[in-house]
């Protein structure tokens, strides 16, 4: 009886959060799933008609979808480890205590104050192949101008660089907070025992930072799978579909072509992809922790 009563109280206290979860998370997912089963009928003056899994079968036959899927996977395979690695490096540097560290911390935080659209536009000006700062600098050292965002071989990596410049400093904050939770005495004891810097990192820092790292990795992955603004502002999915990630393709289907059924099917595929990736990450980290 006591257990039942306390469970009810727990549910009661959790109910505002559960309601918000249902309204802002589960309901949109349900409507997206439902919407992906409908398509606009040209024969019925644009009326939405139930088409079952037709949007999905069309999607899987569409070469643009597979190209977009590959671009999305390629982007995420590089950007997630890169951002987490750089964020960790910055966090370790920010965690040091020496004269003038405040100035360096300020430098690390600067990208945080710049919004993604502004950062994209600034980088577009700097990466302009005709008169951009980047080419002026590389010309100074005798390297010929690079096309950057207008090259199908370079555009995706330019976007990775821009997103990392902006994202790494954000994720650094979480890892820095995690680092500050590690007791200093552990490092002192390890130093007395003769452990070197690398040994201290792998035996103390990394194991004790596992949870913040897991959080950062999972959240960063979810954010980067949905990365959209730089593609929208800088490349519009080009050149040659080299930056046409699933999120951008979904936007284009829904809002440019007016094909909402295809857009929602793309979003559902993206959702499954994120869930699968996050599940794998969880499993890998949990196994390591168990070991």
């Amino acid at each position: 009886m006591t257990y039942r009563r306390s469970a009810w109280i727990a549910y009661l206290l959790l109910s505002p959060a559960l309601v918000c979860l249902a309204v802002f998370r589960l309901w949109p997912i349900a409507t997206t799933l439902l919407g992906s089963l409908y398509s606009q009928s040209i024969m019925q003056a644009g009326k939405d008609v139930f088409v079952g899994l037709n949007n999905y079968t069309q999607l899987f036959r569409d070469p643009i979808f597979w190209e977009s899927l590959w671009v999305t996977i390629k982007l995420n395979l590089v950007i997630n480890p890169l951002q987490v690695f750089i964020a960790l490096l910055l966090a370790i540097m920010a965690n040091q205590r020496f004269r003038g560290i405040g100035f360096y911390r300020l430098l690390f935080f600067i990208p945080l104050g710049v919004s993604v659209p502004i950062a994209s536009i600034l980088w577009r000006i700097m990466l302009d192949p005709n008169s951009g700062l980047a080419n002026s600098l590389i010309n100074l050292v005798g390297i010929p101008s690079l096309p950057f965002l207008i090259s199908k071989d370079q555009a995706l990596w330019c976007i990775v660089a821009i997103a990392t410049w902006k994202g790494a400093s954000f994720w650094m904050i979480f890892l820095w907070a995690g680092l500050q939770d590690i007791p200093r005495q552990l490092y002192e004891a390890a130093r007395i025992d003769g452990a070197g810097g690398i040994s201290r990192f792998f035996r103390i820092t990394f194991p004790l930072l596992r949870r913040p790292l897991l959080f950062v990795l999972i959240t960063d992955t979810a954010v980067n799978f949905l990365l959209f603004v730089p593609m929208f502002l800088l490349t519009r999915g080009g050149p040659s579909y080299s930056t046409n990630v699933l999120m951008y393709e979904a936007y284009k289907s829904g809002f440019v072509y007016g094909d909402m059924g295809r857009a929602l099917a793309l979003v559902m595929v993206l959702l499954l992809l994120v869930i699968a990736t996050v599940a794998i990450q969880f499993r890998l980290f949990s196994q390591e922790e168990a070991n």
Binding site: I42, A45, G238, G258
Partner: protein, 481 residues
């Protein structure tokens, strides 16, 4: 029985207590404060009755507010407001509220709001090739009830009213049309010692026949343009200060369709839903190769310049030859550029072809005020008063026959730069080719633009066109089901 004075006071105060919501103790009615409260209650009563009366009767006389989704770019909204002011002066019972969006965002917002069946949209600015797409998806209400066939044919030039038809219904009225010119910076030509093409200049007054002579006999070919542009491009230490040539709406279908048209090549098949064999036909392959060479082989045009930026390159003296819309005439005149206007070039082995078509206005199918919206369209597109205010402000080629007749008769349009409209008239009658009629125009336009951007950035034209044709056919297949 009770006190009679109390009874009288009670009967007087009863409505007041109801109105004020407070009961006033009767025993304290004789003080000055009570008298004040008494008077205050009368005031409250008066205000309430006045407010209720305003709500009930005033609303009957309130103006109908129409919401119009239109452009926010450059001078467009300012000139639209002039027409709106003129309309509202004549129709005080109708107010027009503008919902403006930049060119790129307007189409997306129309998709979202029309899909949501937004009742707050009454009027829509329709880019003319989208009439079929919007009609087929039920976004537009037919205008047949407001415009008779006879009125339609007598009011607008044929190409414009035909472009507003879908399936035998008049779906959108032409607000204006458009044409394309070649603008030449005379100073840069003089500096380079090159003879400019024969065109319309500030040194002369012309008649329509003289303009027709220039267009028929002195029109440059694209090959001549490239030869001149190579000499006009100035590059020092790897940096180009002056570019020989530039398109206005870089990589957009409206701007570049003339290249394929000049070679007799169409972008889609006669059914409007076949790309393979048309989009990548030999004609379009040649046109695409030529377009790519401008940027990659001859390097006479700048890369990474957007349509928003390109006119300022010409007005800033950074581009010598500029092919763009007639709306640039006023802009370049205002910027003080020493320029001339020449006919749009063509390929040597082909025929002259120019872009045409512009903005139409339609009524949203979800509008609750369709007769009022039609009244505004009548004023803007079909009345001398409205169309003249719009033409005088925006300067785009009119779609109304009466306005063209006015232009031909007015001596002002025989001197530079207004004589450009005579050239526009010639192009509209002899060389204009409308954009492809397809319900999948949104997809066609988007894929055309990204393909041309790829070609501009160095992708092999054949590879780009073949890939695009294949992609388009996947989209087109959905419309065939």
């Amino acid at each position: 029985m009770g006190n009679p004075i109390d009874k009288q006071a009670k009967s007087t105060l009863l409505p007041l207590t109801i109105v004020s919501g407070n009961s006033i103790p009767l025993s304290i009615m004789n003080t000055s404060a009570d008298r004040f409260v008494h008077r205050l209650s009368y005031w409250r009563c008066f205000c309430l009755i006045a407010t209720l009366s305003w709500c009930v009767f005033g609303s009957a006389y309130a103006a109908t507010v129409l919401h119009w989704m239109t452009l926010s770019d450059n001078t467009w909204p300012g000139n639209i407001k002039k027409v709106v002011a003129a309309f509202e002066a004549q129709n005080p019972d109708i107010k027009i509220q503008l919902d403006t969006y930049p060119f790129r965002d307007l189409f997306e917002t129309i998709e979202v709001r029309m899909k949501a069946q937004d009742k707050d949209v009454d009027l829509i600015s329709v880019d003319v090739p989208l009439v079929a797409s919007y009609s087929v998806r039920g976004y537009l209400a037919p205008l047949d009830a407001y415009f008779s066939k006879d009125q339609i044919e007598k009011t607008w030039i044929k190409a414009s009213w035909q472009a507003g038809m879908y399936n035998g219904h008049f779906m959108a009225a032409p607000q204006n049309t458009s044409t394309q010119f070649m603008f030449v910076n005379r100073k840069l030509f003089r500096d380079a010692g090159i003879e400019p093409p024969k065109g319309l200049t500030s040194d002369q007054t012309v008649t329509y026949d003289q303009v027709a002579q220039i267009a028929a006999n002195d029109r440059w070919t694209w090959e001549q343009v490239v030869d001149a542009a190579k000499k006009l491009t100035k590059t020092e230490n790897g940096r180009t200060d002056v570019w020989g040539f530039e398109f206005d709406q870089v990589s957009r279908l409206y701007q570049l369709q003339c290249l394929g048209d000049s070679l007799g090549a169409t972008l889609v098949g006669p059914d409007g839903l076949t790309a393979q064999g048309y989009f990548n036909s030999p004609g379009w392959l040649k046109a695409a190769q030529w377009y790519g060479d401008l940027f990659n082989k001859w390097k006479i045009s700048p890369k990474n310049v957007t349509p928003d930026e390109s006119p300022s390159l010409f007005s800033g003296g950074k581009v010598a030859i500029f092919v763009g819309g007639e709306w640039n005439v006023g802009r370049f005149k205002e910027a003080g550029v020493d320029f001339e206007v020449a006919p749009i070039p063509y390929f040597k082995e082909g025929k002259p072809a120019s872009g045409t078509g512009s903005w139409h206005v339609g009524i949203s199918k979800n509008s609750q005020h369709q007769p009022e919206a039609a009244k505004f369209i009548q004023f803007l597109c079909a009345s001398d008063a409205g169309a003249t205010v719009w033409f005088d402000g925006q300067g785009q080629s009119p779609a109304m026959i009466a306005l063209w007749n006015k232009i031909s008769a007015d001596p002002k349009f025989h001197t530079f730069p207004d004589d450009a409209y005579l050239l526009g008239d010639y192009e509209a009658q002899r060389t204009a080719v409308p954009r492809p009629l397809t319900p999948a125009y949104l997809q066609l336009e988007d894929i055309f633009a990204s393909t041309c951007e790829d070609i501009r950035n160095g992708v092999d034209p054949k590879e780009a066109l073949d890939g695009a044709a294949q992609r388009l056919d996947v989209f087109f297949a959905q419309f065939k089901r």
